[in-house]
Symmetry: C2
Subunit: 618 residues, 2 copies
């Protein structure tokens, strides 16, 4: 296209963004209008994408990190002929694929955006996949707003992209000066962004974001830049092209005052369309098949930490599944991801102490069809909770592993203890939450997580423990996701003790002590906290009428809540007592911690006796 046509295309995108928002009665047209020329030139000249074959592995990827500019993205799809004008006007309505913020319900959208600052770190995951995993020449383009440059996640990402020299990544920063409620920190000072990104090792280009020739040259310069990611920092005008809103405060996130008038001022509708460049078809190296898994085997009675079993099992799973990749947040010695790293260095990724980037990269890699396992301390996954939440909106298929669960870690103290992770992960839509108590079980669950990938999409979480626990299951036993294991049962059971992870061993000990006192207790290992095995719980409730749950977690949102939820089907509900960590722990040995938190065998015995006694009196 010549410059006139490029400008016309920019106007077409504006017109359609304005029309879509007008039809919806909401949306972000002004944030779309600022970036319209930037995206017009990208679409017409640089983006290699076969819209008819969105799964072509060689397509370039475009992520709107400023997801609220969705009207612009959908206008691009319309201009490329990927969606009809009629569909464009369904924007934000019930049943439409064109949601307020982009989601992968649209085949050209890799990941959901809308929580600012996430598109860039996710894009880095895709760019890393392109270079090191797919080894394909696709490029990743990310459109960022200037407001979101305030997010730490952006700089965490900028550091990683610079460090990795991701020259297949081009970021466009739409510096339109205005945030939601007023001016940004740096206004139109594009140099402020250039200095910062430059310091992080990026190639930067400052341009007028409405000068199509300058835009075109900038994309070409980015294409020619080797060894560094490029940021095109574009000075733009919010609401550009319509005088009623251009560069005006108070015009964020609402349709234009008069759609028809605005469309007229923009020169009316255009029938100009774009035929994007198609990628050169290339072989996709990603191996989706897998061989048999030879899991590590542990002897019953040995003492093995579940984090060790995780590392060993992941390495084994990685040998069978060539699509499995492991991601680390500079704690691979603690999480035992280092075992995978040693065996499969080409599929190991170090993200340093940057948990948001860690999870975001996993999201990016799964969008390219890889099977990521990202691990850090359970406590520190809370740092990435917004990313995990958004991963669910992205329908992402990924595996997250949190080590150092609960007070059982011992002396390091509460800052290092995962005590809210079960609650946080249970509350992620479509998630799976697993918490093994022994090494063979852990290995099986790791294999199960890999096997579930692509067949049962979602965020899967595995909680591992720092300290050693006895191996109680044989290496050939199976532990399906959604299952549980009844460890003790008789037809005389008066109470059921339900634990997971470290508390399973406490519950077994408690059952022995209760048995010695003439009280028969059923014991359930509820290793699948979500989905929970409601059938087995119901059976235990019917048989014993009383449940004691015990968990190394705060009382809210974890195992106790998961058990209670199993009885919210309108049926009869057993009497329940719940043991959990109720006071802020400090430093102490693991054994002292369990005792102080009242989640050890002694506390379980006391709770069971009280429940049995209380019921007897009732």
């Amino acid at each position: 296209m010549d410059q006139h046509e490029l400008r016309e295309l920019g106007q077409r995108l504006r017109v359609d963004a304005v029309r879509a928002s007008g039809a919806a009665g909401s949306g972000h047209p002004t944030s779309s209008m600022s970036a319209a020329d930037l995206m017009a030139v990208l679409l017409a000249h640089h983006l290699r994408c076969d819209f008819e074959a969105p799964s072509n592995p060689c397509n370039d990827h475009l992520i709107f990190s400023k997801g609220h500019a969705s009207p612009l993205l959908y206008a691009m799809y319309a201009a490329a002929g990927a969606i009809s004008d009629a569909e464009l006007l369904t924007f934000r309505s019930l049943g439409s694929r064109l949601e307020g913020h982009p989601t992968p319900r649209l085949p050209w959208v890799d990941v959901a955006t809308g929580s600012l600052g996430q598109g860039l770190p996710v894009g880095i995951g895709m760019a890393l996949a392109g270079k090191r995993l797919d080894q394909l020449p696709y490029r990743v383009y990310v459109l960022c707003g200037d407001s979101e440059m305030a997010e730490g996640a952006i700089w965490e990402a900028a550091e990683h992209a610079g460090f990795e020299g991701l020259d297949n990544l081009t970021v466009v920063v739409d510096v339109n000066r205005l945030g939601q409620r007023g001016p940004t920190r740096h206004g139109w000072d594009t140099g402020a962004y250039a200095r910062r990104l430059g310091a992080f090792g990026w190639h930067t280009i400052e341009i007028d974001g409405h000068d199509v020739a300058a835009i075109d040259a900038a994309y070409r310069e980015a294409l020619g830049t080797r060894g560094r990611p490029t940021a095109i920092i574009a000075r733009t005008e919010k609401g550009h092209g319509v005088s009623a809103v251009a560069d005006k405060e108070g015009m964020h996130g609402k349709p234009l005052p008069d759609t028809e008038e605005a469309v007229a001022e923009l020169g009316g509708r255009r029938d100009l369309t774009v035929e994007t460049r198609h990628p050169v078809a290339e072989h996709c190296a990603r191996p989706l098949d897998h061989g048999p898994v030879t899991l590590p085997r542990y002897e019953v009675g040995d003492e093995v930490a579940t984090r060790d079993a995780y590392g060993e099992a992941l390495a084994a799973v990685g040998s069978a599944y060539r699509a499995v990749v492991a991601l680390d947040g500079e704690v691979s010695d603690s999480t035992r991801t280092k075992i995978f790293a040693k065996e499969h260095p080409e599929r190991f990724f170090e993200f340093y102490i940057a948990e948001q980037q860690l999870v975001a990269a996993a999201v990016g890699m799964q969008a390219r069809g890889w099977t990521p396992f990202a691990a850090t301390f359970a406590a520190f996954l809370t740092r990435a909770y917004d990313f995990i939440r958004m991963a669910a909106v992205s329908r992402a298929d990924l595996n997250l592993v949190g080590s150092h669960a609960g007070v059982a870690i011992g002396k390091d103290g509460p800052s290092q203890m995962g005590l809210e992770d079960l609650a946080a992960f249970r509350a992620v839509h479509g998630s799976t939450v697993l918490y093994p108590c022994d090494a063979n079980q852990t290995a099986r669950l790791v294999a199960g997580m890999a096997a579930a990938t692509r067949s049962d999409r979602g965020v899967r979480y595995l909680r591992t423990s720092r300290g050693e626990t006895p191996v109680i299951y044989g290496p050939d036993e199976e532990f399906p996701i959604g299952g549980s294991r009844v460890l003790r049962a008789s037809d005389r059971d008066e109470v059921t003790l339900i634990g997971a992870g470290v508390t399973v061993h406490e519950a077994l000990e408690a059952a022995d002590r209760l048995d010695a006192a003439g009280i028969s207790a059923r014991v359930i290992d509820l290793y699948s906290v979500k989905p929970v095995d409601a059938g087995t719980l119901r059976e235990a409730a019917d048989a014993t009428g009383r449940l004691v749950t015990v968990e190394d977690h705060w009382p809210e949102g974890g195992l106790g809540d998961a058990v209670a939820e199993a009885f919210c089907d309108g049926g009869p509900v057993p009497r329940m007592s719940r043991l959990a960590v109720r006071n802020m722990p400090a430093s102490a040995t693991p054994r002292q911690q369990l005792e102080a938190a009242r989640i050890d065998a002694g506390a379980i015995v006391a709770a069971a006796r009280e429940l049995v006694g209380a019921a007897a009196q009732a």
Copy 2:
């Protein structure tokens, strides 16, 4: 002290860090040894702190952002005579104040650290308080590790400190080259950090971190720097002073191989002590008293969004409580914090789109005795979840407000919907979780949050709604934290409907419809999700035997779990049915959303009928 003495003091700190870790059998001596000279010079020459009067408002503040270097911090306290040698050796043992990572159980520790990258943003809150609120000349010193410079939170903070020109803030970066599992990204390239911080507007000084003269000069230079924060970027050696560990990989987070030998190599124990400079006593401007609150009053029957009531009530509370401050993440127009900002601009703080810094600053300000209310979208508070978790470890006393709760926001789609916030906040130790359904109730709860400050410390969360809801309570009704409100009750009730926020209105409508069908339903407004009003729930359970919970939240961890938890006391448990958001929402109108999620009046009626019918059949 002369240079020899300063060096000796550094060695004393190393010796004590080594001894404390040796006694504990765990800890991070090598990470302490790298920064010992940096801290020795600070303690001896620059830190103005009366250790005998830790609450002196003019004391300088020292935050160990690298909290794992706690042995060094405690060694400083010992050198200053604040703790005894005997206490030093209780490090990491049961009952000791000297936890694995510092917490405010020690009077000189303002906030807990140990989740890396948090000390700096919290310190910025304290530095802002010093400049704009306390208006006192105290300085804030933050010791950062080089590994944690990978955290986005550091750069989010660096940007804010630079923007605010916080020249009362000095950051010391301990560049010891080695992280937990190997070299950092930048090794000993202190220039890499200097370039980055410089680009963010900081004054930077690169030094040899074991040269006491250079260290002393750097602190003086920082003191003399105006209009900019200063970063002292010090090249150091991990494990400096002991050849067995100095600059060696694999020596992170464990005691030295031979404590006695190490102490000998360091020159043995010293009896050198430090008398720190005391601050000049000054008047503390912080007003802790408060006048009567004149809350806004809303007419029953009017339609008012609870977010509007929040903004108006906060402004009113701010007029009565001069210690109340409001913090915004660039959404004050949406959260309605703008109303406070207009009335009390001197106590309003804008953090742009940087939720981690937003929450961290609130933590810093409460540590200085102020009463922060920090608000953003409920969904985006998940971005700061690790900070909120750590705020509980800090025993922080702060108020967080999340607007745009649930699917009821309508068209913006799931990225903007707070749907896991109740779960996340319930799982914070010692938290309060409030979810009002009308404007007068909201206003009362905001006043209650302010009143609870300092009398009942903890993290308090208020969930507000985007859309208007009918005012159903009069302006003089009271809503204590921990309470609930029975809106419909009779002695014929067959079922209890329990909602909060927007679902209260659906439950009322459902009760009307059920009544018309001959089924009498009790309705409870469970505005205090935590602590939950177990007494009222028990009474309803005893009276009706059946509960239906309905919430604009995922099924896990929210209202349903909170209600179930109330029946985990061993007593009889009612039959329950729980309505919540079970499918990923998309864009739609608020009414369509409630219907699609099956949390509207129609769904409640159906659930109640089924529960009543099911029970009848049982």
